[in-house]
């Protein structure tokens, strides 16, 4: 099956990418280190901050959908439409969506980050 389980990390706050690197895809960055302790606690270290979180089961699992790109040129007027995440009420040209992953749990970080003192 092509729909394997993905992981989800939820952080309060925003990851800021430096202006010089904003053109790069997200997976080009080393964001931080994630560890799991023996007590089922998760620690996420970003820069000199450490976040503590825990794994939570999602009440309703989520599917990760990916647009199936069409090769032929699309006629905007007659083509079917898709919801854009940035402008939900507007419609843009589209094609099908394929489920490429399922998410059943998330690691939720909602405590205040701890500042680590560098050695």
């Amino acid at each position: 099956s092509e729909c394997r389980e993905w992981a989800l990390l939820e952080l309060q706050g925003v990851l800021e990418i430096q202006p010089s690197a904003q053109h790069l895809p997200l997976n080009a960055f080393s964001i931080g280190s994630l560890c799991r302790s023996q007590q089922e606690k998760y620690y996420f270290t970003i820069g000199y901050h450490e976040l503590e979180g825990k794994k939570v089961s999602l009440k309703k699992p989520m599917l990760v959908l990916q647009k199936v790109l069409r090769e032929d040129p699309i006629d905007v007027e007659s083509s079917p439409v898709v919801l854009s995440t940035q402008y939900p009420t507007q419609v843009q040209k589209t094609s099908e969506l394929k489920a490429i992953g399922i998410i059943r749990h998330k690691i939720l970080f909602k405590t205040r980050p701890k500042a680590l003192i560098s050695k």
Binding site: A7, V64, L83, T85
Partner: protein
Amino acid sequence: MTAKCLYEGCLLSVHDFSFSVVIRGGLNDEAVLCTSSRTYAIKFVMSSNTILIMPPPSSHGSSASGEELDTKSETGGKRTASAMAAATGHLELVEVAPNFEKLKSLLSERLYGEDTDSMDVEESTSGLYTWDDLLEKLQLSEKELQEGLKSLAAVQVGGFWRLVDKKYMHCVFELILLNAMQHDWSLQGLKEKEVVSALMADGYSAQIVIHCLATYGQRVSLAFEAGIASNGSYDLDSHVWELNERHVCLHYANQLLSSASRWRVDDFVDAWQQNLPSGVQASLDMLKGKILIEKLGSDSWLYPFSVANLPSNPAERFAALFRERPRWEWEDLEPYISDLRAPGKSVDALLLKYTRRTQPTAETPPIFTAR
């Protein structure tokens, strides 16, 4: 980055997906998400948190979830999981019932009738819809569209889905039955070739005749003798049809009801049985959902009241039913609500919502009234 939408749904729906979905809607519609069999309204839920999603490692073949990282890795190195995307929110889905009334009204723009049949080629294609046109305009899943077309007895002609004019269909059916009686054909074994040629002689197209046979009956497997020609080869043209007894009875019942809208039940049953081809047995049960019977004194009278003419929306349906009769017994009510669709709600839930149930004594049947 491509994977930006997250969808929230229940576990059952995940298996229903077959992992390919489509979002449908015109510029003025609210977008819906369609799987192969269901349709969902979409709500975009924004999140102020940062959501990172990560696919499982593909080459390692180890754990399915990519977040199993351990500081004490045995090889001494760190395992990495790549975040594919940062999502701004997710889509919540709410299942919606298919809107077949819109399908009916689209297909009714250009009904296929007597005039259409005699034309060789239709000139303009405005008001005509293909399968793809219908999927987009109606925002339905494929299975739902299939169901809708079947329930309307629509037929595909020249790539377009058409609704045949009811009177015309009855006309063609009547002719088939008359020919059967004339030529002494069995209604359980009508030979397509014979039926089509008989009706084509009267100006009806083969398509419509076959559509009529398919609507009121079904193909049967060929009787061995009927299929084999003298040289032993299989004659593929010898399709044989069996007419559905209920449809035959309904056809004659409708004729009686159009000639007089109120009948004393006994008179109706007599006239009905008389008009039927030999061997066909009618019963009042066949008319459930099409007629209502009321007692006036010592007589029982029936009159037409068809579920097909009632609204499909549950609230409106119950309102219409209680306008007709303030009190209903379950036996009478059931055929008028069994087709109602409300996602996630059973018939009992609908009854609870729209009716009040009373039962005077344990022996008498329960009565339903408006809430």
